[in-house]
């Protein structure tokens, strides 16, 4: 009950802030249009700008926090501030480092004298910048470490004979949920070995999902809706599943027991494909769900600018709040599903078959 009221309060506060920041951001846009005050807002551009990664952290209007740009190319490593990549009008500008760099839709490209993208040179440059998403991730890492190390400390302090208190009592049911509803039924008796991974994945995704829903600095980065992030997590699951996979797991892929030989040969490529589609589905599911949620909320807010009337907010705001509440649910659900499926894949790969003809 306390959790529910806390959540609704959270939603109300965040929705309010979200509207404030979103409106100020979008209101800044028409200035770029050629047709003056009545210029149409390019909704697609606005939304894509909000959900993609960036080299600086946009706060409001023309105010942004510069972030370090780290590039590695055949000419060596270079580090510079992202302020170098914009001019005094906050438009992308050319920075002459080892190459001439300019950002296009948030991505650093190498340009020639004429300002055209030099794809060949761009391919040689590796971008390891601390982008908005990376900075947001560092924040989430700090947050997670602080939360769980303090909870671990309170477990040590309070001992096992007393009931959990405070943050500990909030997180213990979630930890037990991951253990009893996710790990135990899917992995079986060896579940304890995979608990640290499952718990870390669950809370890492969940906290980042929630941080993405908070619209103002230092939150609001679409990290868990970024395909690079979800790909990394899916890769962890992929590596874990295939490294821990036992003899039976590989046998089921390459020589399915209990079926005729032509069927075995037929199933081999399908099963082999399944090895890769599992993590890919994990990657796309999380990416698409979180990105879709962000797009939905932004689209509803943009309705105000499409209709060019403040009265549109009468409809847009309640809808945006409603979607935000649903997104809170989705944030938890997607973290749960990712963890659940990871546990399922681990369970399938480590399952022990005692009777072969059972299939």
């Amino acid at each position: 009950m306390r959790l529910m009221s806390f959540k609704s309060l959270l939603v109300a506060v965040f929705s309010g802030f979200f509207l404030l920041t979103a409106t100020s951001v979008v209101a800044g846009e028409p200035g770029h249009g050629e047709e003056g005050k009545e210029a149409n807002v390019d909704v697609t551009k606005v939304i894509l700008e909000h959900i993609r990664d960036d080299h600086s952290w946009h706060l409001w209007g023309h105010t942004s926090i510069p972030l370090p740009v780290i590039l590695y190319s055949d000419k060596g490593l270079e580090v510079f501030s992202s302020t170098n990549l914009v001019d005094e009008h906050h438009e992308p500008a050319v920075y002459n480092g080892n190459y001439a760099y300019k950002t296009f839709e948030g991505k650093i490209k190498v340009v020639d004298e004429a300002g055209a993208i030099n794809e060949e040179a761009t391919a040689k440059v590796w971008d390891f910048s601390i982008t908005k998403n990376v900075a947001s991730m560092f924040l989430s890492v700090t947050l997670i470490l602080v939360i769980f190390l303090s909870v671990a400390a309170s477990y040590k302090k309070r001992g096992v004979k007393t009931a959990p208190k405070g943050l500990q009592s909030f997180l213990e049911p979630l930890i037990l949920f991951v253990r009893d509803e996710v790990a135990k039924p899917n992995i079986g008796k060896h579940y304890a070995k995979y608990m640290p991974f499952l718990l870390t994945v669950f809370f890492f995704i969940w906290i980042n999902n929630m941080m993405g829903l908070i619209p103002f600095f230092p939150f609001g980065a679409n990290l868990s809706g970024n395909i690079a992030f979800t790909m990394t997590l899916a890769l962890f699951t992929f590596v874990l599943v295939n490294f821990k996979g036992n003899k039976d797991y590989w046998k089921h892929i390459f020589w399915m027991p209990g079926v005729p030989v032509p069927m075995k040969i037929f199933l081999m490529p399908i099963e082999l494909l399944g090895v890769f589609t599992k993590p890919i589905s994990l990657m796309i599911r999380l990416f698409a769900n979180i990105t879709a949620g962000h797009i939905l909320v932004l689209s509803l807010i943009c309705l105000i600018f499409i209709f060019k009337s403040v009265w549109a907010s009468a409809m847009a705001v309640p809808f945006a709040v409603f979607i935000n509440v649903i997104e809170l649910l989705v944030a938890f659900l997607q973290a749960f599903i990712f963890t659940m499926l990871s546990a399922l894949y681990i369970g399938m790969a480590t399952e022990e078959h005692h009777h072969e003809a059972h299939h």
Partner: protein, 170 residues
Amino acid sequence: MFFLEVNPLVLPDIGLVVWSTLAFSIVLFVLSKFAWKPIMKSIREREDSIDESLAMAEKVKSEMAQLKNENEVLLAKAREERAQLLKEARETKDKIINEAKEQAKVEANKIITDAQLAITQQKMAAITEVKNQVGNLVIEVSEKVLRRELANKGDQEAYINNLAKEIKLN
């Protein structure tokens, strides 16, 4: 070239992949070592202690029940023993009384028999005595009659009557 035409949203940046890998590895390592291990251990210990306490309670409960059962059995046994003792006492009492009665009866009979015997003996002795005396008297009277050979028949009869009067049967 194909990938460059794809929406940049579904094009993973190598930078974020590297940083994510690093961040997740750090979180996984640190939390596994310093958070999940003690947390899971504490939870498991707490669950174990709860299980243990419940099992202990159950055990104590069954022990109590057993104790109660034993007590009841003991009580029933004691009650039975008491009843048995009372019964035995009653029987002993009856037996003693009966025996006393029997003995009294036997003694009484014996006394009566003795008395009767004594009476019979006395009676016989008395009768013998009477017989002897009667005999003696007859002899005495006969002697006196014989000694007085009187002509007088009247005197004779008066004399006999006189003598007869003298006989006092005591």
